[in-house]
């Protein structure tokens, strides 16, 4: 079944990689929308935890699409101009830097230690040393274990569509780090190699979610394997947890982030986790109408249960 070509240019598309034909279906954009609307609702209801349980025919892609929506609703951080930041840094301060692309050299993101600044000579002593006007953004970090460097992604069709491309360097340099993805590592890794797009253009989902991994110089989303969640989601910075599949969703009652989206796969025969979710909602939750309060209706084939729990 090749990607269905619908004459609906407003549908977002999904593709497995950079080359394969893209799929345009309404559920793709709807999952993204859910992430966005959940973020907006949460801002207006700071004293509640919003839980949205989704049941889908198969788990694939749902969680990362919701994550893209969440990221698109996050505000760009404000960073002072490069020189202002450099002038206040103590020696040996760890920093994250986003560089300009010039000629053949692409833009990069890296973490390093700062040494000194010489404004007259237009030089910043970070790592090997840089010309100040080649730096797009600099931000101090709390700590650094090793210096890391990577190519800086450039905004694509989705980022431009959602306005994320404004202050893109700031987003890379001081990324929001309030999102967690919980599930089977293998399944999540496969989903994270997919592309989201519109029309003929596409953008890697990994550039939107910026998953944390050992060699990443910058990241936004923490990835937790479900089978290691016994000790709970640790960080206090987390504001949204996307629970992918029963192995993750069964920890729902232990998660305290302001937003939780739980993806349940209806192909799975064992109903004990969906029953657990219903039980949790019936004993601790107050119903939330997704249609009225989040202005979101699930696509065909998807069931959605919204409720809030006091934080």
């Amino acid at each position: 079944m090749q990607g269905t070509q619908r004459n609906s240019p407003t549908y977002l598309t999904l593709a497995e990689d950079a080359a394969q034909p893209a799929l345009a279906e309404d559920w793709i954009g709807k999952f993204v929308m859910l992430g966005r609307m959940a973020a907006l609702w949460s801002r207006e209801h700071p004293e509640s935890q919003l839980v949205v349980a989704l049941s889908v025919p198969v788990r694939d892609f749902a969680a990362v699409l919701v994550g893209c929506g969440w990221m698109s609703a996050s505000a760009a951080p404000f960073i002072p101009p490069v020189v202002d930041v450099l002038e206040t840094l103590p020696r040996h301060a760890p920093v994250r830097v986003v560089t300009q692309s010039r000629g053949g050299t692409p833009s990069r993101v890296f973490t390093e230690r700062f040494h000194a600044i010489d404004i007259e000579k237009n030089r910043a002593g970070i790592g090997w040393g840089w010309q100040i006007d080649k730096l797009r953004a600099v931000v101090p970090l709390k700590g650094i274990d090793t210096a890391r460097s990577q190519l800086a992604p450039e905004p694509g069709v989705f980022s431009k569509l959602t306005g994320m491309q404004k202050d893109w360097a700031a987003r890379l340099c001081s990324p929001p780090q309030d999102l967690a993805l919980v599930g089977t590592l293998k399944a999540l890794s496969e989903d994270l190699t997919a592309y989201i797009g519109r029309g003929n253009e596409r953008e890697p989902i990994a550039n939107i979610l910026l998953p944390e991994h050992p060699r990443a110089a910058t990241w936004s989303t923490r990835i937790y394997p479900a089978n290691q969640l016994d000790v709970g989601l640790q960080s206090a910075d987390l504001r949204a947890a996307l629970l992918d599949g029963a192995s993750a969703v069964k920890y729902l009652p232990t998660i305290a982030t302001p937003v939780v989206i739980a993806v349940l796969d209806r192909s799975v025969a064992d109903v004990s986790v969906p029953e657990q979710v219903m039980n949790y909602r019936n004993t601790r939750g107050e119903p939330v109408s997704l249609e009225h309060d989040l202005r979101w209706k699930p696509p065909a084939g998807v069931e959605a249960l919204g409720f809030e729990v006091p934080l």
Binding site: M1, Q2, G3, T4, L14, A15, E16, Q20, L23, E25, W27, A53, S55, V56, P57, V58, D60, F61, T184, K186, A187, E190, A194, N227, Q228, D230, V231, A246, S247, K250, L264, D265, R266, S267, V268, A269, D270, V271, S272, V273, P274, E275, Q276, V277, M278, R281, P287, S289, L290, E291, K297, P298, P299, A300, G301, V302, E303, A304, L305, G306
Partner: protein, 507 residues
């Protein structure tokens, strides 16, 4: 099909089935109706008899009824049906001298109906054949209700070129065809067959005398927005001519008529647990085994419908149901092997950990001995401990520590034990145990990925061989029945496989 194509197809088919619905092909079947009525008569008449005298004849009768529904192949390719009828006759015969005249008459009718059931070919089989012959074998699939039913239907329809699968197989093999013909009523199949279908069209074929025609709702449906509700259309077919004997005086609930285990109420009175004892339930397993499940937090299970690498799950013990495939060992339990592995990972700290754990656990046991369980629970509640139902479990040597940090701290304080270093050591042990558990999980995942899931589904059990020492022989087996009674047994008996023939009518 690409992975994305598969995902798109699943969404589209789910939406389509909600729009177009499924068909229920209700087959008029006087021969089967006679068996159905006879089984109900025996059941109703024998209700007051709690001695277990009728267990075997009822077991055989329910198995016959089950096979009439799920395996309607022509008699000559249906050894399962012939065997079931013979079993009914044999069991009824055995009882002849032991029962009164009324029961004798009812049993005679049961035997007569069983004999009649293997004379003429089941009508549902005829109906099924006509339906699938309107399609090409490539565009349809016959969906069997169980592994054995699949094997039976396959032996008949396979040579004709048709595909026979059970639902888990359909999903695992990613088989997308236009039409599905499920042999049996909706309640015999996992909910996913209608709520997350692999087929564009779906029909259920089963006798009109089967009482329960309800579709399985998805769990979230009662309160969800966009709830999946699949419409149903009834079609009457087969031999509807003969007037049915409507035995409306006894309308037996379908659950009672399905093969199920018989549990004897335990004779022992509830009492306090001795140090080495736990409360557990007996679980009957495929392959002629049973085990005891205590209330320890989780147990490993296998989901054959998932792709290799994602089949091994950790399931809450309380959530274990009939139909789940558990992973169990002969000999040593995973729990004790994990404990040893965790201690090994602690290296030089192992001795300190053992000493510290023994200290607080024996202090807790001493309090339990002195005040009794109720007394300890009362005092711990007053001290602010939350998970009071786990208090006795915390004395178990292999359990690292209470799950909640707060509860653990308060417990140690109440016991008068220094929170440092007991807390740290127990937490480190738990971490090492989790590490060891992940490693074992990965090895199990590998072994299960290489194993034949079709074989597991067909026979209900499968042995897996693992590389790691201490975990050599692992057994995947389907849960056939769970006792409603909790009994007190020695801690060492939990989760061990033991030979048990009680489930012989359930496979």
């Amino acid at each position: 099909m690409s992975r994305l194509g598969i995902v798109a197809a699943r969404y589209a088919r789910s939406a389509r089935l909600v729009r177009c619905g499924v068909g229920l092909d209700l087959v008029g079947d006087p021969t089967g109706a006679r068996v159905n009525a006879a089984v109900q008569e025996v059941l109703v008449l024998g209700r007051d008899n709690t001695s277990g005298l009728l267990d075997d004849v009822l077991g055989a009768a329910k198995a016959l009824r089950w096979r009439l529904i799920t395996q309607p192949q022509p008699v000559e390719c249906n050894p399962a049906l012939r065997q079931a009828a013979a079993d009914v006759e044999a069991e009824a015969d055995r009882l002849h001298a032991a029962v009164g005249p009324q029961m004798k008459g009812v049993l005679d009718e049961l035997v007569a109906s069983a004999q009649a059931a293997v004379v003429a070919d089941p009508i549902a089989g005829d109906v099924l054949l006509k339906l699938v012959q309107e399609k090409t074998p490539r565009t349809c699939v016959i969906i069997a209700a169980s592994g054995p039913a699949g094997a039976g239907l396959e032996s008949w329809l396979g040579p004709m070129g048709f595909q026979v699968k059970i639902v888990g197989q359909l999903i695992r093999e990613q088989l997308f065809v236009e039409s599905g013909y499920a042999v049996g009523p909706p309640r015999f199949f996992p909910a996913s067959v209608t709520n997350a279908p692999m087929t564009e069209k779906l029909d259920f074929i089963f006798p009109v005398w089967f009482g329960d025609r309800s579709l399985q709702q998805s769990t979230l449906a009662p309160h969800a927005e966009g709830a999946i509700v699949v419409p149903v259309t009834d079609f009457l077919t087969g031999d509807l001519g003969e007037p049915r004997k409507t035995s409306t005086e006894h309308s037996v609930d379908e659950t009672e008529l399905l093969p199920q285990a018989h549990w004897i109420t335990p004779s022992t009175q509830p009492r306090e647990l001795a140090p080495d004892e736990v409360a557990a339930r007996r679980v009957l397993l495929s392959g002629g085994y049973s085990t005891w499940l205590d209330d320890g937090e989780w147990i490993r299970a296998v989901d054959p419908s998932q792709p290799g690498g994602r089949r091994v799950l950790n399931v809450d013990v309380k959530a274990v149901r009939v139909g789940i495939y558990l992973l169990l060992r002969h000999g040593e339990t995973e729990r004790s092997a994990l404990y040893k592995a965790a201690l090994e990972l602690m290296g030089s700290q192992a001795a300190a950990v053992i000493a510290s754990q023994t200290q607080w656990k024996s202090a807790l046991q001493a309090q339990l001995d002195r005040l009794g369980r109720a007394g300890v629970v009362r005092e711990l509640a007053a001290a602010g401990v939350g998970t009071l139902d786990r208090v006795v479990a915390w004395t178990e040597p292999m359990l690292a520590r209470p799950r909640s940090d707060q509860d653990f701290e308060r417990l140690l304080e109440w016991l008068g034990i220094d929170v440092y270093p007991a807390y740290e050591l127990a937490t480190a042990l738990r971490r090492k145990r989790a590490q060891a558990s992940v490693k074992i999980g990965d090895q199990l995942e590998e072994a299960v990925a290489a194993a034949d899931m079709s074989l597991l589904e067909r026979s209900g059990h499968l042995r897996l061989e693992l590389e790691s020492k201490g975990f050599r022989s692992v057994f995947a087996t389907r849960v056939l029945g769970i006792s409603p009674y909790v009994e007190i047994i020695s801690r060492h008996e939990t989760r061990i496989l033991s030979r048990d023939r009680s489930a012989k009518w359930l496979e």
